[in-house]
């Protein structure tokens, strides 16, 4: 569990930075080289390499060097895992609220019945 949490911490830390989120968005549209990304985000090659490195460590991005060009692409599986956490949380609250819904309906009917009784 510690390992799993640590992995998620790394990815959330990676996602905390606006440039890195931008890089992910960009890679969501198309694969890109480090040079492309550095130009697009108006950054030095070294700076962009660092950002991509962090995304790579977090398992959000994979890179492959072909010749002199390092191409970056999204590792979609990692993003799916994070979305899964939010989805689990949603499922819990949906289950709670569906039960609350039934209870609220019951209370509403009871109030109506009591109201009728008082009037008659």
């Amino acid at each position: 569990m510690v390992q799993y949490s640590a992995a998620l911490d790394t990815s959330f830390a990676a996602l905390a930075d606006a440039t890195r989120r931008g890089v992910l968005e960009q890679l969501g549209r198309a694969d890109a080289s480090i040079t492309d990304l550095a130009e697009r985000f108006d950054m030095t090659l070294t700076g962009m390499k660092k950002h991509v490195g962090i995304l790579e460590q977090a398992g959000l991005v994979t890179t492959e060097k072909i010749g002199r060009v390092r191409t970056c692409r999204l590792d979609a599986r990692a993003l799916e895992k994070e979305a899964a956490w939010i989805e689990k949380h949603r499922q819990l609250w949906a289950a709670r609220f569906d039960d609350l819904d039934k209870l609220v309906e019951e209370l509403k009917q009871k109030e109506k019945a009591d109201g009728r009784r008082k009037r008659t």
Binding site: A16, W85, V104
Partner: protein, 161 residues
Amino acid sequence: MKRNTTVERKSERELVVMRLFNAPARIVFKAWTTPELLMRWWAPKSFGVTFVSCQADYRTGGTYRFEMGHPASEQPMAFFGKFLEVTPPSRLVWTNEEGGENGSVTTVTFEDRGDETLVVMSDLYPSKEALDAAIASGSTSGFDESFKQLDEFLATPDAGR
């Protein structure tokens, strides 16, 4: 008809859950702030959680303590804190002290929308790191879902990578 429940990470520190109920705020608020009624919905059966005890003093400054059991845990899990604000039938604010200094403050608003009520529940964490950690550990679920999730994770081929 079942209504949708939405969850959104509104900001670095805030997680928001929303849902519409087909009843006036007064009734939804009552179901939320009466311990006997709360026990009927807070621990959904489909999640295998049951109440061991449920104490709550729904007044500003009052405290609460929920103890819940789960088959994956020998000890009941305790959730406790203080009500910072209780304003019937529109607003509830409480602390989540089991989370220590990283615990969130939960604000629930009950907003009348004609015959319906919009419930907006916001968990505000002291820092971005605290929310990150809560999401990572699964503790925002209100009880420990991480066992189940760990099992699922370990069952995937790339576990431990």
